[in-house]
């Protein structure tokens, strides 16, 4: 996948115009999805856990839990706490590691007709590259999503995601390490999200997804301690949606890459908001905890809307009037 391939989403073959059943298909910089609805990393396990509740093949794609070079145990508990219209989590990126993913999870996932996006992270650029290389050869992985909201251990633990130069370094290195489409997932915890977006576009990312969680804290006033053992957790859920929609719109206006919208999507109208703001596709996160069938319901609801408005998914993207 070459860098200049980065046109805005186009639903290739199917895009001849709107017929009776509007096209749901989207092509996100080479990642061809049957519809714009994916699941968000860390909220859908390795995908298979949801097979009892919904038809995985009806989803546009499945983004798996963040993968690191080695298995990681994660943080001590409590790891989560509910907040008004949202939740905090400090899971600590617990995961089985990229090798176990490829050996144990991927063979089963291949049998499900959906697109698999591997979310990756590391504590150094070398970590990211290592995971990306391993996934590059793995059959059944259709794209790589780089989670840059991780502490850069070599730079005193400051997150890659708040420094445009560090973020660009990771993206450039991963871009070289794989032939798969590269999605860069931005952290919202920055003064200027457009600047971050331009930096990763420049560095060769094919797609930008956003937002990751926003750092937050809840205190138990009887114990006078943070409820979450690690003190700070990431805020997700509908509470953050207006912030996410605004940032997706800013990024859409700032770069020419396709954008994937994430943050508090509970139902189809929320997803449609993101698409109107500029997202070519969306990811459903926390909603899958509230209702394991949420992602499939979002697919159905978008289809209804497109039929009612006689519009293709592609046309919806960026259709905001000012």
């Amino acid at each position: 996948m070459k860098k200049n391939d980065n046109n805005k989403t186009g639903n290739n073959k199917a895009g001849k115009g709107v017929t009776k059943l509007p096209s749901m298909a989207v092509n996100v910089a080479g990642l061809k999805l049957s519809n714009p609805v994916m699941t968000a990393s860390g909220t859908f396990g390795y995908g298979l856990e949801f097979a009892p509740y919904l038809d995985l093949s009806r989803l546009g794609g499945v983004v798996v839990k963040g993968l690191s070079p080695k298995p990681r145990p994660g943080n001590p508990g409590p790891r989560i706490v509910e907040t008004p219209c949202g939740m905090l989590n400090a899971i600590g990126l617990q995961n089985v590691g990229v090798d176990a993913f490829i050996e144990e999870k991927l063979p089963k996932l291949r049998k499900v007709k959906t697109r698999v996006i591997a979310n990756i992270f590391g504590e150094s650029v070398a970590d990211y590259v290592l995971v990306a290389k391993k996934l590059d050869g793995a059959r059944g992985v259709h794209a790589v999503e780089i989670n840059i909201s991780c502490p850069n251990v070599k730079k005193g633990g400051m997150s890659f995601g708040v420094n445009p130069k560090e973020a660009a370094r990771v993206v450039r290195a991963v871009r070289k390490a794989t032939a798969l489409p590269v999605i860069t997932k931005l952290s919202p915890n920055v003064s200027d999200i457009a600047e971050m977006a331009r930096a990763v576009e420049e560095a060769g990312s094919d797609v930008i997804s956003l937002i990751n969680t926003i750092p937050g804290m809840v205190i138990d006033i009887e114990k006078r301690m943070p409820v979450i053992a690690r003190g700070i957790g990431g805020l997700s859920g509908p509470a953050i949606r207006p912030i996410a929609v605004r940032m997706v719109n800013e990024v859409y206006n700032a770069v020419s890459l396709p954008v994937i919208g994430i943050g508090g999507i509970m139902n189809a109208s929320d997803a449609i908001e993101f698409m109107i703001a500029g997202a070519s596709a969306v990811q459903v996160g926390t909603a899958s905890f509230v209702d394991p069938q949420a992602a499939e319901k979002v697919v159905d609801g978008i289809a209804d809307y497109l039929v009612r408005h006689k519009m293709s998914a592609k046309k919806l993207t960026g259709s905001l009037q000012k």
Partner: protein, 277 residues
């Protein structure tokens, strides 16, 4: 496990602050000690489902091959403690509610349950009686239920156990019903009566710790049902982690931590790092 939209059959206060709710669920198979995740309202606040143990199975039928009960619905027994349970308590028959489950491993049902070899001693703190009703019904005289509570609310909690053959003993903090003191004192007495036995616990963390210690010191195996804040209930959010000991190692499990929802909620006491709870 299934995710359904269930109809509320009834929802009534059985004692001040305690409610039982009946939920329609045709054909459901329940292992004693399993729980559900229930959506308390369709509002975004509170956002997350709440975990509740399955108290009873409606129109139950014991299915030996499956080691569980099959029925037409379930009954939960819950205490009103916060935002979610307050809202739940206001729902009325005919309303619908998202229901996910039955979840978890449940308490082991001793193979000898039909031949009186091993006595199951169930220790409950307050509404921790919930996961024991089905077991007590099944095991009958081969079991004993020890209930510790603050005060008279215990009467509402043990009422349903009275008609069963299971032996029931009570202790309350204020001595208003049963023995005055801790339920672990009852446990010591019960174990001291001798014979092979196994201890099952459900209730506040402090009580569970004491149950595990007492059992261990008297050389009896114990199993406890743990509680943690939960988001998903199906092992994917990794939010309900507790630190496991080496005894908790299972193939294909994420390293070091166990999930209360998908690996539990019932753990052998030796599988859990009590110091980290």
């Amino acid at each position: 496990m299934d995710s359904i939209t269930s109809k509320i059959l009834y929802n009534e206060e059985v004692a001040p602050g305690y409610f039982r709710i009946g939920l329609e669920w045709k054909g459901v198979l329940v292992l004693p000690g399993q729980f559900v995740m229930l959506r308390v309202s369709d509002s975004l606040d509170p956002l997350l489902r709440r975990p509740f143990g399955i108290y009873k199975v409606l129109n139950p039928k014991w299915v030996k091959s499956a080691g569980g009960y099959r029925g037409s619905g379930i009954e939960l027994l819950y205490s009103v403690v916060g935002r979610g349970t307050i809202r739940l308590s206001r729902r009325v028959a005919g309303d619908v509610a998202g229901l996910l489950g039955p979840i978890g491993n449940g308490f082991p049902v001793p193979e000898q349950s039909r031949n009186k070899e091993q006595k199951v001693i169930m220790v409950a703190g307050g509404v921790g009686t919930v996961p024991f009703y089905l077991l007590a019904d099944l095991l009958g005289a081969d079991s004993a239920l020890l209930v510790g509570a603050r005060s008279k609310e215990v009467l509402a909690l043990v009422k349903d156990f009275r008609p069963l053959k299971c032996k029931v003993a009570i202790s309350t903090e204020d001595g208003s019903v049963g023995a005055k003191g801790l339920v672990t004192d009852l446990l010591k007495e019960e174990i001291a009566k001798g014979g092979p036995s196994v201890v099952y616990g459900c209730g506040p963390l402090g009580m569970l710790k004491a149950v595990a210690e007492v059992s261990e010191s008297l050389g009896v195996d114990s199993f406890v049902s743990l509680e943690r804040s939960m988001a998903c209930g199906i092992g994917v959010c990794l939010g309900c982690a507790v630190k496991g000991t080496e005894h908790a190692a299972r193939p294909g499990r994420p390293p070091e931590y166990v999930m209360v929802c998908s690996d539990g909620p019932v753990f052998k006491s030796s599988e859990v790092e009590w110091s980290r709870l």
